[in-house]
């Protein structure tokens, strides 16, 4: 069988603003949607300073717990839920998505899958933002983490507002993931 060598990553750099953000990128649902929630937070560096030039991408299951197979993320029609969006952080390091709560397969803890890019970050990072009260017994990975690290993967909620800060480094460093069967090494 052919086994081609993988192309390595490189930093997104400081100038992605001219290419990656687009109108409606972070609005997975219209603002009139009855079940709309907000997933938001601040990206911090190892000194505790906000990161104003990061880009977060969101990918999630639909509210029914199924993978979404709908195109339309680049040109939102206001009704189709595509399960995907992106948001560049603002000058205060803040990102915000308007979306729906993800479902999960029976017995599993629901989460938002996130990718993090930033100037100074030489390759993208993967993480999961679990909904509050995630049952760590129902999730092998959460269950295996010590409580302080587990906490970095769990959103806090205030009504329809779900907060998930991302710490690239430091005492509250977010747990980042690598996938079995993904990039070798």
């Amino acid at each position: 069988m052919v086994e081609l060598a993988c192309t390595p990553g490189q930093t997104v750099g400081p100038f992605f603003q001219c290419a990656l953000p687009y109108p409606g990128d972070s609005h997975l649902v219209g603002d009139g949607h009855a079940d709309a929630i907000r997933l938001h937070g601040i990206v911090y560096d190892g000194a505790g300073d906000p990161v104003p030039d990061a880009l977060i991408e969101l990918w999630q299951l639909g509210p029914d717990g199924r993978v979404v197979r709908q195109p339309g993320s680049l040109r939102r029609d206001g009704t189709t839920f595509t399960g995907w969006g992106r948001c560049a952080t603002d000058a205060a390091g803040h990102y915000s998505f308007r979306t729906l709560l993800p479902g999960a397969p029976a017995g599993r803890a629901p989460y938002f899958a996130l990718t993090v890019f930033a100037r100074g970050l030489l390759d993208r990072l993967f993480t999961r933002a679990y909904l509050p009260h995630a049952d760590s017994a129902a999730d092998e990975m959460l269950g295996a983490l010590d409580p302080a690290r587990r906490k970095t993967l769990i959103c806090t909620a205030d009504g329809g507002e779900y907060r998930f800060d991302i710490h690239l480094q430091g005492a509250w460093e977010t747990v980042f993931l690598t996938y079995r069967g993904g990039v070798p090494g």
Binding site: A19, L168, G182
Partner: protein, 258 residues
């Protein structure tokens, strides 16, 4: 570590080159398929890399699928960076093409490829770029396309210039085009940079050198391909992109041997 964060004195190129050389010598022969996230010669990486090891997980179903994009979301003009303005951009017109593949050789079909780059003078169309080189009113430097059934992408653009940055004194980035790639799976997401053959700045650039394995970093260099070059119009570069495993095979294996 001597140079920390914002208070760091600006290092000379000679000092940076020395740091690059030390790290390369200490890691010779190691099989590292990705850039180092902790790479002090790239100063901005110091406070922006996680120190804890990654937690290795079995990808869930959502992570084994990727968002899909439709043909009506991207137009043919989006892949031509030389159009859309009142006039033609200044610079060397180039065709950049290749295929997006999985390691097995399977093409990634119908997926989104996004690019962005500096103009021929080495300046980005971005308010934070303070390089005193001319802005080209006929060049924005952003494009996108969907891959064809055989994984092919193709852009028509202008060869970007090298540009100075403030990592250290007299720091210059080799000419490059930024690429954003989606695979069939969320976990295959890739953002990287394509370089041009023979760039004299390779040895001096801490971003390129953050991939300490020479063979691995050379995968980022496109090949000049005269077959792609169009007479009296544009020169051609070919660059194939290989994304990591999608996790599906592994999971199937696990189910089988479980």
């Amino acid at each position: 570590m001597k140079a920390a964060g914002k208070s760091a004195r600006v290092a000379s190129q000679r000092a940076i080159t020395r740091e690059i050389g030390r790290i390369a010598a200490a890691n010779q022969g190691k099989d590292e398929p990705q850039p180092r996230l902790d790479y002090p010669p790239y100063r901005s990486s110091m406070l922006r890399h996680p120190r804890s090891p990654f937690v290795c997980v079995d990808p869930d179903e959502v992570e084994r699928w990727a968002p899909c994009f439709g043909n009506d979301e991207v137009t043919a003009r989006d892949a031509d960076l030389t159009t859309g303005h009142a006039g033609e951009p200044i610079g060397e017109r180039i065709i950049v093409t290749g295929r997006v593949l999985e390691a097995t050789g399977r093409p990634i079909a119908g997926q989104l490829v996004e690019v962005w780059q500096a103009n021929a003078a080495g300046r980005y169309h971005h308010q934070l770029d303070q390089h005193p080189a001319p802005i080209d009113p006929n060049f924005t430097g952003a494009g996108r396309c969907l891959t064809a059934a055989d994984g092919t992408y193709r852009f028509l653009t202008i060869k970007p210039g090298p540009y100075p940055w403030r990592n250290h004194e007299n720091a210059w980035r080799p000419a490059h085009i930024h690429f954003s790639i989606f695979g069939r799976a969320f976990m295959q997401r890739l953002v990287t940079q394509m370089y041009f053959p023979g760039d004299p700045l390779f040895g001096l650039d801490p971003i390129y050198q953050s991939i300490v394995d020479r063979d691995v970093r050379q995968r980022l260099i496109a090949a000049y391909d005269h077959e792609l070059t169009e007479p009296e119009y544009a020169t051609g570069y070919r660059w194939d992109i290989v994304v990591a495993g999608d996790g599906r095979t592994w999971t199937e294996e696990r189910a089988r041997h479980g």
